[in-house]
Amino acid sequence: MTETLDSLLASRESQRREVVNVDEPMIKLVIFRLGERCFAFPGEVIREVLPGDEPVYFVPGMPSTIEGVINVRGDIESVILLQRVLQLSAATEPASGPRASILLGQGQQMHSGLRVDRLLDVVDVPQSLVQPPPDSLPEHLRECVTGLLSYQQLAITLLDLDQVFAIWERGTS
């Protein structure tokens, strides 16, 4: 069968159109460690990651979940001890030093720094990797955990920042 150039080009074009966009929806995650466990916030709620050795100033008369305040280019931000809010352990001293980090979280109602033990990665992962939270989740974590995923052989717990802030507000009032 003799093909013409036009028919060949038309065939190519139809094949190209048949290519289905199989790009999976991706989600950006800020992954960090708190004690022995790994957590992540969606990237869109983390404005900035600050080094953990930023000076944090103690503010008297605050609940124990507050580490203090930091000066971020002339703006004062509170620093919340995330480990205490999530009741992960009875850590007495907040992590600090070059491996620790402060995440600047921007929720719908409030913003604050969040102390974490170590920033692990900021990555884009396919949304399909996120599994629903298991029923076995501890009671106090149920309302702020939105999913679980495995990343580089680590079990990551995905957190909702607004719910974390809500738990913090409730816990301190």
């Binding site: 000076p55 100033y57 503010v59 605050m62 507050i66 305040v69």
Partner: protein, 134 residues
Amino acid sequence: MALPLVIFTHGPSWFGLEARHIAGRGHLSAEDQDVIAFSRLFCMHSEPSGRLEYLRLRTSTAEWRLGIQGKIELIELNADVIFPLPDPLYKQRRFLPLKALGFHHQQQHQQQLIALLDAEQLTQLALDQRQISR
């Protein structure tokens, strides 16, 4: 623009009051009774007895003496190192007179946080606890 402040220590922390509310300062004698220790207002307990100084506070509702067991200094803070309390801290503060934060340069370029107090609220707290009368 600078704000004159009387600052004082309580434990490891520094607190500050606008100097315009401070009508005087003096040393206390053992016989002085009409003095409210800052510790009583801040953490609801009395400090161990020791040498105390007082600040005489004059506000719109009362004039009274605040007992201080620590250092007292008169300083000025520039407006650019005074900040309102961040919203989360304002909502969750345990000590209602806490109103703002200041940063005071001390030796060796170290900054010290000053917890700035509302003198009217501090007076109200003393009134609420029936520690002073109007």
